[in-house]
Amino acid sequence: MLELRKEYFADERDDNLNEIGKGTQRQDMLGHVTGASTYFNDHQLQGMLHLKVLRSAHSHARIRRIDHSEAERSPGVRRIIRGQDVPRNLNTLLSLINFGLDDEPTLAVDKVRYKGEPIVAVVADSPREAYEALAKIRVDYEPLPVVFDVEEALKTGAPVVNETYPKNAFIYHERYDHQKLRFGDVERGFAEADHVIEHRYQMSPIEHAPTETNGSIAAPDTNGRYIVYTSTQALFFSLDTCAKILDVPSNTFHFIGGTVGGGFGGKVDTLTEPLSILGAMLTGRPVRYVFGREEEMQYGPPRGAERIYLKDGVTRDGRIVARKARAYFDGGAYTRLSSYAVVKCAAHLPGPYTIPNVYGDIYCVFTNRTPATAMRGFGVTAMDFAIECQMDRLAELVGMDPMEFRILNAYRDGDMKAHRRETKGAALVECVQVAAEKAKWPIRDEFRRMSSRQGGGRRMEATPAPPPRPSYELTRPSHEPAPAPAPAPAAHGATRFSSVFGTRRR
């Protein structure tokens, strides 16, 4: 059971707690153990049709011709759906909060940018008949050069993955091809250090592998509305995305969800709802579109792989004096949420440590891989992995205990963070102390007595003020005025997220 450590921060805590520290039964547990919990796919609707998609056989290719005439005549087929049938066949998820450019079609039209990209949808009486029809569709591809490596993708002359971003990097605020963090003078920090180390960390894409695959069922409802049962983790986000893609008011839809068979971030991309709803609109019948396991594993979006270079300088007595990070987030062929992951990654630097000189360049890169998406701390976990590996290496280098090394460098209340915010409410010192105790890992008394509230107030000696006009504008010549901000679109109700991205720089 949960253990409350009351010796820490006792003056900040109200001990008159009704719930914290006590077990509370989940409200959905009875449904789970009796099998009564209703997932999207547990709805059987009269006359339900089944939608399957033809996926690209190539990682990068021009589509010369699509011939679905034979598929149309295939038994049980009710409707073939092509890109031109999608009212607004270009979208980016975060456009709902006015972040990024529309860069991804629901169904590919002239080009495919990753293996498995949807091209044609078939709606048929049974899944088998839908699959049989898919096998009869002929796509004439002209394969194009591919790029799978983030650093290769940024080189001049690399194949252009996504024409919306011709340099293969997401562009922030119409100008910046990466997220940048500057604090102190990292080169001077390295010069002052007794040891400098640099390492490269390469993550792999990770599939969420939820036990329930992505899917949805859409059915015509009364008054011209549609009822949508969905596996989504982001119900209203999905609803608004569908309203945009299908070019109808969002009150056209009644989304029902919330009981999700595992998501972990892999069910926020609105992968199936636009097509199942469009299928229902075009046939007047309920339509189900559910991923098979192979689709989920191969073409469902994974955690994006990151490549991270970390260079640290440390003094003999164990103080980290400089940290320089260069990282590339592999977004795959389309943005989805990777632009946001990079913002989080930059915001996380240099980890929960007080370091006087910090430098970070983080890129959101397009490659011909499956588009990446959210997954449990995406943008942060990989950087944390790299940072903590580096912390162990630094501790070893200066002959310090790794726990004590972390306590020594942990940020304290009053320290100035690299983002020019003062640290408040820090508790890392105490966390490390308790972790050491739990792991029966001996740390010296001196470190056991340290506190997040003592020794803070560390400021950088000479942090230059950020220049009024950043010198790192790479995508727009400086003499050209930036375009006026687009008027805010009609509220999609998501403006509260804007704090995550900060204010737009003009």
Binding site: G23, Q25, R26, D28, M29, L30, G31, H32, V33, T34, G35, S37, T38, Y39, N41, D42, Q44, R128, H208, A209, P210, T211, E212, T213, T259, V260, G261, G262, G263, F264, V290, G292, R293
Partner: protein
């Protein structure tokens, strides 16, 4: 061609017509409306569709419906006795042995097959019994503890 098929579903005799290629999972869900076995992979990899056939745990996605002719099929739907939970269900609740709940029906049926056959299993035997059932949320410790708890309690019914 449709084949006639009769079997016992949760203690009730049922008769239906199925395509020769229809698997038991689809027949249960789409023809009998029993949504407790779940579709997770349809290739025998996840265990979410686990049901009991004559008391033994089977993957309903890899079992042709026609193969259960004359046999007794049990799903999670039949586990509780009216409003009364089976000790396994109660133990899963008490141990917080579910998060998203999607693997739970298969997990419970695999566990039932075990404790019906072996009322006092060891931890290793529980691990073995649920080794074909994948849980992606909670980890397996709480589930194993719950099965061991239930095995130690007297059965609610024979």
């Amino acid at each position: 061609m449709k084949l006639p098929l009769q079997f016992r579903h949760n203690g009730r005799d049922v008769a239906l017509f199925v395509d020769g290629g229809t698997n038991l999972l689809t027949a249960l869900r789409e023809q009998l409306g029993d949504m407790t076995p779940k579709f997770g992979c349809e290739q025998g990899g996840c265990g979410a569709c686990t049901v009991l056939i004559d008391g033994a745990a089977h993957l309903s996605c890899l079992t042709l419906a026609a193969a259960v002719e004359g046999r007794a099929v049990e799903t999670l739907e039949s586990l509780k006795d009216g409003p009364r939970l089976h000790p396994l269900q109660q133990a899963f609740m008490d141990r917080f042995a579910a998060q998203c709940g999607y693997c739970t029906p298969g997990m419970l049926m695999a566990a039932k097959a075990l404790i019906d056959r072996n009322p006092t299993p060891s931890r290793a035997e529980v691990v073995e019994a649920i080794s074909g059932n994948i849980c992606r949320c909670t980890g397996y410790e709480a589930i194993i503890d719950a099965v061991l708890d239930a095995a130690q309690k007297p059965r609610a019914r024979a």
